[in-house]
C-alpha cells in the first residue's frame, strides 16, 4: 500500500498591506506598489491543507476530514478571518503579511496540532492567479 494525500479547503477574508517599516515611504511604494496602500486592501484567501500518510486500517482515513476542518477553523480562520492581518494579528506584528509569510505562519500553527507522522503542506491562494505552497 502507498501513502495517500488528503486535502481540505477553507477560506478567510482579510485586509492587509505590504510594508517594511525599516524603509522610507518612497522605497516601500517603489517595491510594493499598490499593495503598500496605508489604508489597506484585502483578499478572499483560499487555503488548502494537504496531509499525506497511510490510511488508518480501522477507519480508512488518513485523518478525519471533519476533525481537520474544525482544527483549521479554530486555529486559522478564527485568527485571520475578517481581520486586518497587520493590525489585529500578533503573528504579523513583525512579519510582512505576504502570501509567502502567511503560508509559513499557517504551517507552523498547524504543524504543532497535527500528528507528526503525517506530512503537511499548505497551499494559499491570495487571488485566483497568485498562490504559494509551503514547504516548497
Amino acid at each position: 500500500m502507498h501513502k495517500v494525500s488528503v486535502f481540505r479547503k477553507e477560506h478567510f477574508n482579510a485586509a492587509h498591506r505590504l510594508h517594511n517599516p525599516s524603509w522610507d515611504d518612497a522605497q516601500n511604494k517603489a517595491v510594493f506598489g499598490k499593495c503598500n496602500n496605508p489604508l489597506y486592501h484585502g483578499h478572499n484567501y483560499e487555503l488548502i491543507v494537504q496531509l499525506t500518510g497511510m490510511p488508518d486500517p480501522d477507519t480508512g482515513y488518513v485523518m478525519d476530514m471533519k476533525i481537520l476542518s474544525d482544527l483549521i477553523q479554530a486555529e486559522i480562520c478564527e485568527r485571520f478571518d475578517h481581520r486586518n492581518l497587520n493590525e489585529d494579528c500578533a503573528e504579523f506584528k513583525h512579519i510582512n503579511p505576504t502570501a509567502e509569510n502567511i503560508a509559513i505562519v499557517i504551517f507552523e500553527i498547524l504543524r504543532k496540532k497535527i500528528d507528526p507522522q503525517l506530512d503537511l503542506r499548505i497551499r494559499l491562494y491570495e487571488t485566483e492567479r497568485n498562490f504559494v505552497e509551503y514547504p516548497a
Binding site: 477574508n13 485586509a15 489597506y40 486592501h41 483578499h43 478572499n44
Partner: protein, 136 residues
Amino acid sequence: MVYITRIEHFNAAHKLYNPAWSKEQNDTVFGKCANENWHGHNFELHVTIKGIPDTDTGFVYDAKKLSAIIREYIIEHLDHKNLNLEVDFMKDKLCSIENLVMGIWNRLVQHLPESVKLHKLLLKETPTIYVEYFGP
C-alpha cells in the same frame, strides 16, 4: 438582443459599520464584518451590456474597449483601495455590496458610449455571496 459580459477584478478593504450606532449594535448586526480595523475581499465585477450585433464587426460592442472603460473609470478607483475611505461615491454610504453595485452603475453609465446599453452588474464579494443590479 445579445448580451455580452466582461469580468474584471479588484482587491479591496472595507467594513460594514453604521456610524450612527454604538459599537455594540454594529457588532450585533454586522458581526465580524464590523471589524473597525477592516477586512477585505477579492471582488469580481461582471458588466453585462446588450444590443444587436453590428453587421460589419459582429460585435454588440468591442469587449476590449469595454474592458478599458471599466478599468479606467471603476477598477482604477477601487483596486487595492479602502472602499469606505478612498472611494468618492461611497462616502457617507454604508459599504455593503448592495450600495457598492449601485454606485458602480451610476459611475459607469456616465462613461459608456450612447450606443451601449448597460443591462446588468453582478458583483461577487466571495464565491458564495453576490449581488445583481439592473439599474434604477
